[in-house]
C-alpha cells in the first residue's frame, strides 16, 4: 500500500492517509467473454511468489482506451470479469462415476477421456451414430468451435449437434438466411453515427448491452435523432427513448407489417432499390395490404396514429436502422419477426449503407463464432450440409468421406431434449452450457437429463445445476486462461490472450477436443493443435466465403483491436499501405448484391398467426422474462461474484400496483407464481414499469422463471418463445408475518 501525503488543515499535523493501490505487473489484452458487444478488456495480472514458482493472479480490469468497440468503457460485468477466474467452485479435476447415485471420483484426464471415448463409441455402435448428442455453446473460442465441429461432423458423425445459441439467436440466423441468403449482421455500431432514425424491437439495450448503448448515446450527444423503442415493459432503455410503443406480447409481426403498409401506402419506399436489389415485392405488397394501422391497433395495442407517425419517421429518414434482440427472436414466429424487420429495411433501401441497417444485437460473446465455424447448423464458414458442393469441399479439406456427412441438418438444441425423452438419444455431451437453468420448463429438462445412459459435462464450474445428473465432468479453462478469438455482434473478430493459467488440471476446450479426438482414434483430423494453428486453418477454409477470415492473423487482430470480416489478404495489403484504412468491412451488401443465387434479397410475405399460450381465466397474467444488467445468463459466473450478485441475489417479480392491490400483495411481499408447468415462490417488486396484467421475472436464476415457461418453438428457427407464458399469482403469507 502506498502512502498518500496530505497537507491537511492548518491545525493538524501533516499526516499520510492510505489510498489503496492495486499494483499490476502486466496488462494482458483480451476481448470480453460475456456478451456479444465485444469490448476490449485488459486484464491486470500480478505476479506473486518467488524463486522460480511464479503465480499469476488476475487483480484488475480496464477497458482498452483505443478499442474500436468500447473506447475504454466497460460495463460492470466487464469491470469484475477477472473475479470470475478466481471465483469459488471452479472445476479443477476430471470427475467420473458409473452410476448417477454414486459420488464422483477424481480421475486422471487419461482415465476420463478413455471412459468418454469408450462410452460414445459404445452408444453409437449399439444405438446408431445419432444416439449421441452434442450440445455446445456460444461461450468458447471460435478455434474451439471449429475443432469441435470437426470432431463431431468429421469424426463422431452424429447429426444431433447444436448449441445453446438456438435459445437466443436462431431466429436472427434463420431470418438473415431467408432474406439475405446467408447469416451475418449487415451493419455495425458505427451506423449510430449516421442514422437519422433508430427503431429498436424487444431490446433493453441499456441493461443487456450497456456499452452498445454507450455508443448510441455518444452518437446522440453529437447529433440528435429519434429513438423509438418497441417493448411491452418500460425498461431503462424506454426511459431514454423519444417514443415508446407499448406492444402486446407476441404481436410484433403485425406492427412490422403495419409499418410497411404505411410506408408503401404513402410512397415512402425506395422503389429503385426494391427493383434493383430485392425479389418478392408483389407478393409482399399483397400481404401487407390488409395490415392497415387500424387493423393492427386492436391486435398490437398501439394506436393507429402512432403507427403512422413511426412509419413516417422511419420512411422519411434518409437513413434509418433497426436493432432487435430477444423480444423478436424468442417468439413462436421469431423468424417471421426478423424478416418483418429485414422487409422494413429493404423497402426503404436501408441495408448496407451507413446508418441504414437491420442489426441483430447478438447475445453471447461468441454466438457469432459458433454460427460461423462450429458446423452446428451445417459446415464451417456458413457452408450448408444441404449443399453437395459444400459437403465435398469440406470432405476433401478434412480428409473424410463425403458420404460421411448427412445430407441435411439434424436436430437442434430444443429438439435434442425431446429426443432424449423419447429414447432416441442415449448420450449427451454438454459443453459450456447450463440447460437446467436456460431451457424452458425446468421440470421437464430435469427429468430428461436423468434419463441419459451417458452424460458428459464440460464446464469451468462444478457443481452447477446441469451437472447434477452427469456421469463425467471435464474441467475446462475459462476466458483469459487460454488464447483464441471471439466474434461480436458487428462481425468483429477479437483476440483473447491468455492471462493466467487455468486452475488445477483444467484444460482449454481446444485441448480437450483434440485429446478426445486422439482417444477416439481421430487424431488425423487435428493437424492443427494450437489455437493459432487452428485459426490459420480456419482462415484458409473460409476464403471466398461471406465470413472470410483469409486475411486475418493474431498479430493483425491485436494491432487493430479486432477486425470486421470479411477480411481478405487484398484488404490487408491495401491497409498496410494506407494508415487511414482499417483492413475490415464495416457493412455487408453495400453493393446491393446479396448471397442468394440471383443476388437479390428476399422480401418475405408474412401472415400472422397467433399460436402462443395466452392468458385466460385460470392463468390470467402474461409472464415475460429477460435480463438484468448485473447478471450474465445462468449466473454461473456473475452469481459467484459478490459485487455483481449483490444487485439481485435472488429472483424477483415486477408487478403492476393495480394488480398487486387486487391480489392483496404489498411491495417486498412474497408471491407464488403458477403456470401449467410449475410454480415459483418469488419476492415481489411492485412497480408500474410493467403493464397491468403482465409480470416480469429475470431469467438468470436456477429453478426460477424457467420453471414456469412453456417455450413453444418457432417452426423455422426452433427457438423457444420464453416471453409469452400464462401464469396465475397468489400471495404468500408467512413471509410478511414472521417477526
Amino acid at each position: 500500500m502506498a502512502m498518500w501525503p496530505f497537507t491537511s488543515n492548518r491545525d493538524r499535523q501533516i499526516r499520510p492517509i492510505n489510498i489503496r493501490q492495486n499494483p499490476v505487473d502486466e496488462w494482458v489484452p483480451t476481448t470480453c467473454g460475456y456478451c456479444s458487444t465485444g469490448c476490449g478488456i485488459e486484464v491486470g495480472v500480478r505476479k506473486e511468489g518467488e524463486r522460480g514458482i511464479q503465480l499469476r493472479k488476475p487483480v484488475a480490469a480496464r477497458g482498452m482506451p483505443a478499442h474500436p468497440v468500447n473506447q475504454g468503457k466497460l460495463c460492470l460485468k466487464g469491470i469484475w470479469e477477472f473475479e470470475a477466474i478466481t471465483a469459488h467452485d471452479r472445476a479443477t479435476h476430471p470427475l467420473l462415476r458409473e452410476n448417477r447415485s454414486d459420488p464422483f471420483q477424481r480421475v486422471s484426464w487419461d482415465e476420463a477421456l478413455s471412459w468418454v471415448a469408450e462410452q460414445f463409441q459404445r452408444v453409437q455402435s449399439v444405438y446408431g451414430r445419432d444416439a449421441l448428442a452434442v450440445a455446445s455453446t456460444g461461450q468458447i473460442y471460435t478455434e474451439e468451435f471449429y475443432a469441435l465441429g470437426k470432431l463431431v461432423r468429421g469424426g463422431l458423425g452424429t447429426n444431433n449437434y447444436d448449441g445453446n445459441t438456438t435459445l437466443c439467436m436462431a431466429s436472427a440466423v434463420s431470418g438473415y438466411k431467408r432474406a439475405f441468403g446467408s447469416d451475418g449482421p449487415p451493419g455495425c455500431y458505427e451506423d449510430f453515427e449516421h442514422t437519422e432514425c433508430l427503431l429498436a424491437f424487444g431490446s433493453n439495450l441499456v441493461e443487456c448491452h450497456p456499452v452498445i448503448h454507450y455508443r448510441l448515446k455518444e452518437a446522440l450527444e453529437r447529433r440528435k435523432f429519434p429513438v423509438i423503442v418497441v417493448d411491452p415493459r418500460v425498461t431503462n432503455f424506454v426511459s431514454q427513448a423519444d417514443l415508446h410503443l407499448p406492444i402486446r406480447p407476441g404481436t410484433d409481426l403485425v406492427l412490422l407489417n403495419a409499418l410497411a403498409h404505411v410506408i408503401l401506402a404513402e410512397g415512402l419506399h425506395d422503389g429503385a432499390y426494391i427493383e434493383r436489389c430485392t425479389a418478392g415485392f408483389e407478393e409482399f405488397c399483397r400481404m401487407v395490404a390488409k395490415f392497415s394501422p387500424e387493423f393492427a391497433e386492436p391486435i398490437t395495442g398501439i394506436p393507429a396514429e402512432r403507427i403512422r407517425q413511426v412509419a413516417r419517421l422511419f420512411g422519411r429518414a434518409k437513413t434509418a436502422m433497426c436493432i432487435w434482440t430477444m423480444g423478436i427472436n424468442q417468439s413462436t414466429h421469431g423468424t417471421d419477426g426478423v424478416n418483418g424487420i429485414t422487409n422494413l429495411c429493404l423497402i426503404t433501401g436501408n441495408i448496407g449503407k451507413p446508418g441504414g441497417t437491420a442489426l441483430s444485437i447478438t447475445g453471447q460473446c461468441n454466438a457469432m463464432g459458433t454460427r460461423e465455424f462450429s458446423s452446428c447448423s451445417g459446415l464451417p464458414a456458413y457452408r450448408q450440409l444441404e449443399n453437395p458442393e459444400h459437403r465435398s469441399e469440406i470432405a476433401r479439406r478434412w480428409g473424410v468421406e463425403e458420404a460421411f456427412f448427412p445430407p441435411k441438418r439434424g436436430r437442434q438444441m430444443t429438439d435434442i431434449f425431446p429426443a432424449i425423452e423419447s429414447g432416441e438419444i442415449k448420450a449427451l455431451w454438454l459443453i459450456a452450457t447450463n440447460p437446467m437453468t436456460s431451457m424452458p420448463n425446468t421440470h421437464r429438462v430435469d427429468a430428461i437429463l436423468s434419463k441419459l445412459d451417458c452424460f458428459v459435462v464440460q464446464d469451468v464450474f462444478y457443481p452447477h445445476e446441469s451437472a447434477e445428473h452427469a456421469h463425467c465432468v471435464l474441467p475446462a479453462a475459462m476466458w483469459a486462461e487460454k488464447t483464441g478469438t471471439l466474434t461480436n455482434s458487428e462481425r468483429r473478430v477479437g483476440l483473447v490472450r491468455k492471462a493466467v493459467d487455468p486452475p488445477g488440471e483444467a484444460r482449454s476446450d481446444l485441448e480437450i477436443f483434440v485429446a478426445l479426438g486422439d482417444k477416439l482414434g481421430l487424431g488425423r483430423l487435428f493437424p492443427s493443435r494450437t489455437s493459432e494453428e487452428v485459426f490459420a486453418e480456419m482462415a484458409q477454409i473460409s476464403h471466398g466465403r461471406p465470413c472470410d477470415y483469409s486475411g486475418l492473423t493474431y498479430e493483425l487482430l491485436e494491432a487493430y483491436g479486432g477486425l470486421q470480416w470479411p477480411v481478405t489478404p487484398d484488404l490487408v495489403s491495401r491497409a498496410a499501405s494506407d494508415q487511414n484504412v482499417r483492413p475490415e468491412m464495416p457493412r455487408l451488401y453495400a453493393d446491393g448484391r446479396f448471397n442468394t443465387p440471383d443476388g437479390k434479397a428476399r422480401l418475405v410475405a408474412l401472415d400472422f398467426e397467433d399460436t402462443n399460450e395466452r392468458p385466460d381465466a385460470n392463468y390470467p397474467f402474461w409472464l415475460n422474462t429477460g435480463r438484468v444488467v448485473e447478471h450474465w445468463h445462468t449466473r454461473t459466473k456473475t452469481g459467484r461474484i459478490g459485487n455483481l450478485n449483490k444487485f439481485s441475489p435472488i429472483p424477483y417479480v415486477e408487478m403492476h400496483p393495480a394488480d398487486a392491490e387486487e391480489l392483496w400483495i404489498r411491495h417486498l411481499d412474497h408471491a407464488m407464481v403458477y403456470s401449467r408447468r410449475g410454480e415459483l415462490k418469488v419476492l415481489v417488486q411492485v412497480s408500474a414499469r410493467v403493464a397491468p396484467g403482465s409480470i416480469f421475472i429475470p431469467f438468470h436464476f436456477a429453478r426460477g422463471a424457467n420453471l414456469l415457461t412453456l417455450g413453444l418453438l418457432d417452426p423455422i428457427s426452433r427457438q423457444p418463445a420464453y416471453k409469452q407464458t400464462a401464469v396465475r399469482i397468489t400471495k404468500v403469507f408467512e413471509e410478511t408475518d414472521g417477526g
Partner: protein, 581 residues
Amino acid sequence: MAVEPDLKPQKQYGFFFRADNCIACHSCEAACSQKNGNPPRIAWRHVGYLEGGSYDPRGGSNDFLRLNTSMACNHCTDPVCLKGCPTGAYVKYEKYGAVIQDSDICFGCQYCTWVCPYNAPAYDPVKGSVSKCNMCVDRLDLGLNPACVEACLGHALEFGEMGKRDLEESGWVTRMAGFPDPSITQPNVRFQRHKPIPTTMIRTDSVPLRYVPKSPAETGEPVVPQVADPRVKIEPAGLSLRSLKTGELPLAIFTLLVQMVIGAFWTGFGLLVWMEGQLPPPFGAAMQWFFPGLTAALAVGMGLSTAHLGKPWRCYRALNNLRYSWLSREILAVGSVFGGLLLYAGLSLLSAWLPPGLPGVSPQILQGVGWGVCVVGAAAIYCMGKIYLIPARPYWNHPHTMVAFFTSALNLGPLAVASGLLCLSAVSGVPLPASLMVGVTVALGVAWVTLVVQRVSEWNRARALATRTDEAAASRELLTRVYHRWVNLRLGLTGLQLLLVPVAILIGLSAAPPADLIAGLTLGAFAVAVPKSLVGRIIMYLVVVPTTMPGSLFLRNPGFVSFARKSGLAADPLVGVVPAH
C-alpha cells in the same frame, strides 16, 4: 453558513449529475469498488432510484419514470462528518476540497454515518471501521477523472470545479427528488434534469417516504410519509430488540445510566449540602457508599458506551476532535464527571475514615469538588443532547431531545435517592430526620415536576411532528401505527408514576407518616420510572428515520436486509448483507 477558516479549501471540486442520462448500469459503482477493493458488503457509491407516474397501455397516462441517482460523498462545504468524528479521522483536503477519511484512525463509532444525510460513510462491521469516497485524489493528481466518472456509460456523472462549471452551463441545481435538504451540509454536487418528473415519486426500498414537489416549477421536493400506502410494507410491529441496530441497545442504556447517575449525584449532593454534611446513622454511612456506588455505575455505563465501537481498543482517540465534535466533548465531559466522582467519593471516604485529630479533608474542598461534578454533569448531559440534535435525523432534531435528557436525569436521579433513603428508613426502622424528610420531599417534587415538564415537551414535539412532511413525519407514522402499543405502555407507566409520587408526598406530609407505605410508593414509582425510561429510549432509536438517499430493491433496502438476515440469505457473503450477530 460561514465556512470555518481552516476548512476552506483552495479549490472545491465536486460531482455533476445529469439525471436524464443515468441508465442505472452500475458501472460507476463497479469501477469505484474495483479501484478501492471494496467487498460486496460495502459501497462508497450507490445507484438508487425513485419511481413515479403510471403505465397502462390500455389507455391512461404512460408517464412511468424510474429516476436513477448515482451518489457517493458530496465533499460538503460544511462537512458534518468531519465535525462529528471524535477521532479526527476526517480531513478536508485543501487541494481539491475533498473530504477524506482515514480508516486507520477510525475506531468505528459510526457517528459520521448518523450525521451524514447521504449515507456516504460506509461502516464495515467486519473490519470495524468506516471508509468512504476519497474523490480519487490520486487519480486527480495524475490529471484523470475519478474512477466512477471515467466509467460512466451515459454522460450522467461528471466532475469539475464548483462555481466554475455550473456557472458556465445553465440548468444545474442543488436539489433533486430524493436528495436530502442541501442546507444541512452544503454538498458539492449539482443536478441537471430537463425531462419532466411525475408529481409523486416513490421509493422502492422500505423507507416509508415519497416525494412531491411544492410547486410545479420546483425541482427539490419535500417528503411525506406513505406508511398507509398499500405499496409500502412496514416491518412488523414489536419492540423487538433485534430491530435495533447493532450497538444501539448499549447506547440506550448508557445514555440513561449516565443521566441517572448525574441526576442522583445532584440529588445526593444537594441533600448533603442541605443537611450541612450532617446525616445521622444509618443514613450517613449509606451516603458514604452512595458515591462510590454512583462511580461504579458510571464506569459500567462508560464500558457499555464502548461496546458499539468497531475497535474499542482505540477508544483513547475519542478526544481527538474537541474542536468540532460534540461527541468528543461529551466523552471528555462524561470522563470528567467520572474523574470528579472518583475524587469526590475518595475524598469523602477518606475524611470519614481518617481518625479524628489528623488534618482531614477540608469540607470546603469536598464541597468544591461536588459543585464541580454538578456543573460538569450538566455539561455532559448538554453535550449528550447535542450529539442527537442532528439535521440528518429529523425526529431527534427537536429541542425535546435535550429536554428529555435533562428531565430523565432529574426524574430518575431524585427518585432513586429518595426511594433509597426511604427504604433504608423503613428497613432500619429509623425515621428520617425532619429536615432530611423535607429534602426528600423536595426531591420527589422535583421528580414529579420534571416528569410533567417531560410530558409537556413531548406533547409539544408531537404537535410539531404533526405539521412535518419529511422523515420526521415518517417517524410520527411509525410511532402512531407501528410502535403504538409500546408508546401507550410508556404513557401508562408515566401516568402511574405521576399518580404514585404525589400520593407518596401527601402521605409523607401527614402527621405520622407510615414509613413502609411511603417507601413502598416511592420505590414503586422508581420501579415504574426505569422501564418507562428504557422503553422510551429504545423507541427513540427505533423510530428515527434518517435522511437517506433512495436505495434499490436489494441494495440499501432495510426491508431486504432484514429479510436476508431472517431467512439466512445473509450468511452468503455474495449477497452483500452482513448477518446480524
